[in-house]
Amino acid sequence: MAKPFHSVTLDESKCKGCITCISRCPTGAIRVRNGKAKILSELCIDCGQCIRLCPHRAKKAVFDPFEVTNNFKYKIALPAPSLYGQINNLNDIDYVLTALKMMGFDDIFEVSKAAELISQATRKLMSENKLKKPIISSACPAVVRLIRVRFPELCDNVLPLLSPMETAARMAKDEAEKSTGLDRSDIGVFFISPCPAKVTDTKNPIGFDKSEVDGVLAISDIYPKLIGYMNKIDEPEQLASSGIIGVSWAGSGGEASALLNEKYLAADGIDEVIKVLEEIEDDKLSDLDFIELNACNGGCVGGVLTVENPYVARTRLQRLRKYLPVSKNHLQTDDIHSLDWSDDLEPAQVMKLSDDLETALQMMNEIDKIYNRLPMLDCGSCGAPSCRALAEDIVLGYANENDCVFQLREHIQSLARSISNLEGFIPAPFRETKNQEK
């Protein structure tokens, strides 16, 4: 199988192998080997946490340059609502959208429009009462991947609906095909993204086969150019067409509050998300209907490809929302299931030690034994995120007990003692011995 695509990658030339990233990775996906961080592909969920933490800026997100738009005759921008929160003193979304057109896009399709339809579809699905509760939002691709890797038993709780980005891409292409008469392959749609997980989500989608998004641009990459164009606008074109519900998706709690049902919880920031998932796993949140989880602090406005502090961005969005109608987009009732996933969410069986329970138990026994010999400092000097992770790596054959500097030091000390004991030892041919004859 081809190695899956990841947006989060390492710039080897900048990495010092300093171990800052390894202990804070939510899936324990990083090891330091050969003096460089190594991301384990099957564990990485593209949350971008290591990008935030790296003091040498060696972790980076791969996204598309603006030039990819040149491959298409008709280009449509899909701005994420988090983009609107990046701009100071904005009181009309049309300025942002007009500036995007000035940059070279032929048309704009706001992702917040599609978000309003997803909110409606979610309300409908919840009223049908067929889904396993509490339902967990599937909008954050890092969270969906985290569930597959670390909480496989919660896969059935994940909302099986397309993301607003994917919905927007499909609708934008459908509309453009009709309005321009162009072939679908000539129409390019480009998501303006706050995060690397969305890049990964277009290359390796979950829940369906192929994404209709043709490229993902980073908010941080287009921001300077966008501001330049915004300053040149006299009278913006009227383009904005989403309401409070759609724009609110940019911040934590936006998606959940749009369900108009008070039995919900919204958590943001990867560490808090993990705690909530643990609670769902232990049946402690069974009285809730819906759980919104965002890997970044503050929600999408906290993505690593944004430029503004997430809390500042959220406050700006509150101001922007103020004069908007609640929602501007509504699904026809017969379209309700057009946004469903075509595939089930399959658990990623990457945490299991072995497929055979007996073998796995023996391995676990061995891991526990090794772990108890380790210093339990979780210092990271061995290149693994914790003493427990090192013990697992040893049993799985990827590491050696001497990789622990404390263990190594003990072994050297005991070797030195043996050598010093042997130093005074005189072999038989040179020493006086007792008479062997009886």
Partner: protein, 140 residues
């Protein structure tokens, strides 16, 4: 038959750490690859029993034996003992103090929930000496 054994000391003086032992066992059971439903049942039952030890008995010791066939757990405490087990097993009956009720505990569902999620449950208790709760969840 291979067996993994675990021992957890549950401190009685720090309520904020209650639930850590069950969390730790859950991580190991996931790695070993038990069925998610088995893990969920063990985690919930163990969490309830662990909380009980902290609320009523000033902590104690938990011993776990994991085999491919079943997961056995013993919760041993030197607490006050349970005067009437039948009453304690009734849903909604609780002797938890107000300070823990304010955290959402003490709904009187601890022991009934442990029974609900396990295949075997046995309580040995002596007033003034302590209580041992044994539970078993079958893996197959």
């Amino acid at each position: 038959m291979s067996l993994a054994t675990y021992r957890f000391e549950v401190p009685g003086d720090d309520f904020t750490r209650a639930g850590e032992a069950s969390g730790s066992l859950k991580r190991s059971l996931k790695k070993i690859g038990f069925d998610p439903d088995i893990i969920r049942r063990v985690s919930i039952a163990m969490y309830e029993a662990e909380i009980n030890m902290v609320i009523h008995a000033n902590g104690g010791v938990i011993d776990v034996e994991v085999s491919p066939q079943k997961i056995d757990i013993w919760f041993r405490d030197k607490g006050p003992g349970i005067p009437d087990i039948d009453l304690a097993m009734q849903e909604g009956y609780s002797t938890a103090p107000d300070n823990v009720r304010s955290l959402g505990f003490g709904a009187g569902m601890g022991l009934p929930n442990i029974k609900k999620y396990t295949d075997e449950m046995k309580i040995d208790t002596e007033i003034g000496v302590g209580t041992t709760v044994y539970i078993s969840v079958y893996a197959k």
